[in-house]
Amino acid sequence: MNLYFVIIIGSVFVNNFVLSQFLGICPFLGVSKKTNTALGMGFAVIFVMSIASIFTYLVNEFVLVKLGLEYMQTIAFILIIAALVQSVEIVIKKFSPSLYSALGVYLPLITTNCAVLGVALLNIEKAYNLLQSFLNGVFAGVGFTLAIVLLAGVRERIVPKNVPESFRGFPITLIAAAILSMAFSAFSGMFGIV
């Protein structure tokens, strides 16, 4: 039971995917202008990450390892994720138009979100079992959502006029992210999780 607790707290706070592991920085900087869009992106990431964790685990365990093709991991995983994102998009479009209109625009972007491939590769590296992989996927997504929504909240309050011209846009966002990351570094060592 203890290991599950470590995975949950670890991937949300201590080893936050964005702020301490630098995974998924592109959407973190790109889609964090408004809190609403950040939240939409966050939910889409949680959704895809949790499903991708299960599928990549199963394919790795029952296809790649069985056939001795571990070196094909990168190629296989990126294809699984791309296919998964595409099929999730089709399914949501068909069965839940309201969810589609909320998440639709973010879904294609997720294929090239390195956090999704990152979580799949880290699950294998840490030798998690199916349930642990799934939990890691879900809560890494929750950690991503937390970080991107917090940054969006900060960005909404930055008045562009008061920012020096050369700092406007990405540089000031990166500085804000640095301060956010400093705050999150205080979580390191919480419950003895490094």
Binding site: L19, S20, Q21, F22, L23, G24, I25, C26, L29, Y71, M72, Q73, T74, I75, I78, L79, A82, T111, T112, N113, C114, L117, G118, L121, L122, E125, K161, N162, V163, P164, E165, S166, F167, F170, P171, I172, T173, L174, I175, A177, A178, I179, S181, M182, S185
Partner: protein, 217 residues
């Protein structure tokens, strides 16, 4: 014609530098630059993949159907990334460990897909190769530079060599994640400032009049 080729080559280094101007491929930029050597290695790996995938995609641009081009590009890129992974694991195992999960993550580095989509899929082979080299070189240069700054401030060394007693007064925050964001943001602002100066655009600081003098210099 030669001039045009030279432009393609230098475009990625200065005018559309992937790190500071296009802001693409930010994950490895922040993650591996705790040491200058890691930045250099990551840059070299990305350059290799970029060059190979640009050439391959340019060669195959008439064969790949338009509707499945993105998955096709991704498979081509992933193949070359696997090649790099295998070579590094065999011959540079310490760097392989240092780059960790970010080596396979070159697959989803947006620079490579962006150049495949925007350049290689609609340009001749030689131009695409030059574009790959230029962009890769620009990326390597930026990553190495960020790495040098972070290593110098955070660990007091230069490419692993300790510099005098700088190690005693080093600020560990610069090699922590927060320092990565901080250095990247500050350097990007500096690049913006220098670009504005070079463009001869009048630079007026919005709050302090003192900096107007600076701009005229």
């Amino acid at each position: 014609m030669n001039n045009k080729r030279l432009n393609i080559l230098t475009n990625g280094v200065v005018k559309s530098n992937p790190t500071f101007r296009l802001v693409l491929g930010t994950c490895p930029t922040l993650a591996v630059t705790t040491q200058a050597i890691n930045g250099l290695a990551m840059g070299a790996a990305v350059t290799f993949v970029l060059l190979c995938s640009n050439v391959m995609i340019s060669l195959l641009k008439r064969v790949i159907p338009d509707r499945v081009r993105i998955p096709a590009f991704v498979v081509i890129i992933a193949t070359f990334v696997t090649v790099v992974q295998m070579i590094m694991r065999r011959y540079m195992s310490s760097l392989y460990d240092a780059l960790g999960v970010f080596l396979p993550l070159i697959v989803v580095n947006c620079i490579i897909l962006a150049r495949a989509e925007a350049f290689a899929s609609c340009n001749p082979v030689l131009d695409s190769a030059l574009d790959g080299i230029g962009m890769g070189f620009g990326f390597t240069l930026s990553l190495t530079f960020i790495g040098i700054v972070r290593e110098l401030l955070g660990a007091g060394s230069f490419f692993g060599l300790p510099i005098g007693s700088l190690g005693n007064i080093s600020m560990t925050v610069f090699i922590l994640p927060a320092g990565g964001f901080l250095v990247y943001g500050t350097l990007m602002a500096l690049v913006n400032y220098l670009t504005a100066l070079a463009d001869n655009r009048k630079y007026v600081h919005p709050t302090h009049k003192a900096s107007e003098k600076e701009a005229k210099v």
